[in-house]
């Protein structure tokens, strides 16, 4: 019995729209110099060389470039002097149009087109992976990370200079444990005493209420400066991007991108989403490495902040 993928996939949106664009530009003998896809901004940049000989310029009034999939003309350089041209492009009937008479005498032009890519198209051309669970070591949590180009048909169809930049892998880094181990004993006692006192209130047993509040008072005198607000402030501060990033390492070719705090419970962050990025291209179609969370150092930092709160 066959195993694996049996559904037919059309070539990606990015490749097919680029191919149809090039077909329409046929008269100008387009030569694609490079194609860059930016994963984070979901945009593409195509650099191509167009031939517009004097004959064409005389024959046509306007130079037209089809506006496929949101492609627009970003820059045009004179292919001989390499000067940037100041051309007015107008969108007419799904085409970008400029006045042929305004072109200089050169025959070759470098044109940069910009386009947009849908999320679906991106997920068809690259795959990003990380594990559900890290490998735990006494001082670190390690996550494997991998990303790879899934569909190289753009390369097949157009040109070898394809790069997909800032391909992002989102890793959910768990921080529950460093949190619960770094809460100092006195604070923990205080919280537990308060919890018991609140429970006693619910029971309406006067003797029990009295006894638990005495216990709570005693615990409070041990941790005078504690307040739930300070506690949650510390919790929020240590998982802010600028602090949390100090406790992360990532292997090359990956680089740390953003850090987003995911507050799942009501006051305590349970996990942090860390984004790592790598550029992929023909030479490096896949990237691999590890993201390391230095949890012991993170826990030490938390402990010292919580201790300050107690004293």
């Amino acid at each position: 019995m066959p195993i694996g993928v049996d559904d037919a996939k059309a070539s990606t949106e990015i490749a097919s729209s680029a191919v149809s664009l090039l077909e329409k530009l046929g008269p100008y003998k387009p030569d694609v110099k490079s194609m860059t896809v930016d994963y984070l901004t979901r945009s593409t940049v195509m650099k191509l060389l167009l031939n517009v000989p004097a004959g064409i310029k005389r024959r046509v009034r306007d130079i037209e470039i089809p506006a496929y999939n949101g492609y627009s003309v970003y820059e045009v350089f004179d292919g001989e002097s390499l000067n940037k041209l100041d051309l007015q492009w107008e969108l007419k009937d799904g085409k970008w149009v400029t006045d042929a008479a305004k072109l200089p005498s050169a025959e070759k032009y470098f044109v940069t087109l910009r386009g947009a890519v849908t999320k679906d198209a991106l997920s068809e051309i690259v795959g990003v992976f990380c594990p559900e669970e890290p490998k735990k070591e006494p001082e670190h949590d390690r996550y494997w990370i991998q990303s790879g180009i899934k569909d190289m048909s753009i390369l097949e169809n157009i040109y070898r200079e394809l790069s997909i930049e800032r391909v992002a892998v989102d890793v959910k880094v768990g921080i529950e444990r460093p949190f619960s181990t770094s809460i100092p004993d006195k604070t923990r006692h205080l919280l537990e005493a308060r919890g018991r006192a609140e429970d006693a209130m619910d029971s309406r047993d006067r003797e029990r209420v009295f006894r638990e509040w005495i216990n709570y008072r005693a615990a409070k005198s041990e941790a005078k400066k504690f307040s739930p607000t300070t506690f949650t402030e510390i919790a929020r501060r240590v998982v802010s991007p600028e602090i949390f990033i100090l406790f992360l390492n990532v292997d090359e070719p990956f680089q740390l991108g953003g850090v987003v705090n995911i507050v799942q419970s009501n006051f305590i962050p349970e996990a942090v989403q860390v984004t790592v990025q790598a550029n992929l291209n023909f030479k490096q179609p896949a990237a691999k490495g590890n993201l390391t969370f230095r949890k012991k150092e993170f826990s030490d930092r938390l402990s010292s902040e919580f201790k300050d709160m107690e004293e």
Partner: protein, 340 residues
């Protein structure tokens, strides 16, 4: 002949978790005819990288070279469909480059299928309940976590009585308060708590806003239909809405403490998450035995065989009809799984 730039397989995966494999090599003039894959029969190939679509991997697991989009890279996404009893099982994956001239170059990779595993490592075999017994010390179990991955656990106690979870969700608590006599509750709350824990008013405002929004969106557990009705009534009336706001605000402080405690209770140990916090069991009638068991799943939902013990109980209390609440103490231990 083939010059590999990188050969990669993810080091570990849980059962049913997909993981990537890739090979990247220098393009060369030698003509490759096919790639042959070898992996265990209980693995499946979920997706392919750099392979012309549509593509179906047949049982011989061969990828003809002309199916590759470019002659320098191949990737496959695999998944292990089997759950093992062992906490870590090494799994070989082999990829062979077969050339036109008959030469075969083989690349071996190894991944590990891992899992969390719980064991009850300490438990009493027999417990005698006397009138003077200290309830807190009667039942104590030690559960040890080995392997890799968080275990989301649910503890079950079967002793002919009922089991009570100590920590309900926080919002659930508020809703319960609301379901009780509303006006007397508000008065009670306003006069109740000594104000010695300083709370930033902005924090109070922020939290009450969240609570209020959740209530307004009818974010209420389905078994609390009655409360939902009360709330809907309250939210229709501006004055009642204001009272509700006061109530929520006055609960914020309690809520914050409960939240921190709840968090600590739920995460008693590395890699353990309890479905609820501390557990008590209530003995209502004479019981002869107690079954303690722990059900658990990993983070992608694989359910493992539950672990448990049977404890014989000798109830020597003079009045056995009396309601008797006993906390069940759980100690958690864990051993880290080591591999490179």
């Amino acid at each position: 002949m083939v010059k590999l730039i990188s050969a990669y397989v993810a080091s570990w995966a849980l059962p049913n978790e997909t993981f990537p494999v890739h090979l990247n090599w220098e393009p060369s003039s030698a003509r490759m005819s096919e790639l042959r894959l070898e992996f265990p029969s209980y693995f499946s190939a979920v997706d392919f990288f750099n392979v012309k679509q549509p593509f179906v991997l047949l049982e011989d697991k061969v990828i003809p070279a002309d199916r590759l989009q470019t002659q320098n890279y191949f990737g496959v996404l695999l998944r292990c469909n089997k759950v093992f009893d062992d906490i870590m099982v090494e799994q070989p994956i082999r990829i062979e480059f077969v050339y036109d001239n008959g030469e075969i170059i083989s690349q071996e990779l190894v991944t590990r299928i891992v899992r969390p595993k719980l064991q009850v490592t300490k438990a009493p075999s027999k417990v005698t309940i006397l009138d003077k017994s200290k309830r807190n010390d009667l039942f104590r179990f030690e559960v040890t976590h080995t392997g890799l991955g968080k275990a989301s656990t649910r503890v079950r106690i079967d002793a002919g009585g009922s089991m009570v979870s100590h920590t309900d969700s926080l919002y659930f608590q508020i809703l319960n308060d609301l379901a009780r006599d509303k006006s007397s509750l508000i008065e009670e709350l306003q006069s109740k708590t000594p104000d010695d824990l300083m709370i930033d008013p902005a924090e109070v405002e922020r939290v009450s806003k969240i609570v209020f929004e959740r209530l307004q969106n009818s974010d209420v557990p389905p078994d609390m239909a009655e409360v939902r009705e009360i709330l809907t009534d309250l939210l229709r009336n501006e004055e009642a809405k204001q009272r509700l706001r006061v109530l929520i605000q006055s609960r914020v402080k309690v809520l914050m403490i409960a939240s921190i405690l709840y968090f600590l209770d739920r995460n008693p140990h590395e890699d353990i998450e309890l479905a609820y916090g501390k557990i008590k069991t209530i003995f209502q009638a004479e019981v002869k035995d107690l079954n303690f068991s722990v059900e658990y799943r990993d983070s992608i939902g694989n359910q493992y065989e539950s672990v448990g013990v049977h404890v014989e109980i000798e109830d020597k209390r003079t009045n056995k009809d009396k309601f008797f609440e006993v906390p069940v103490n759980l100690d958690w231990k864990s051993e880290l799984l080591e591999f490179e």
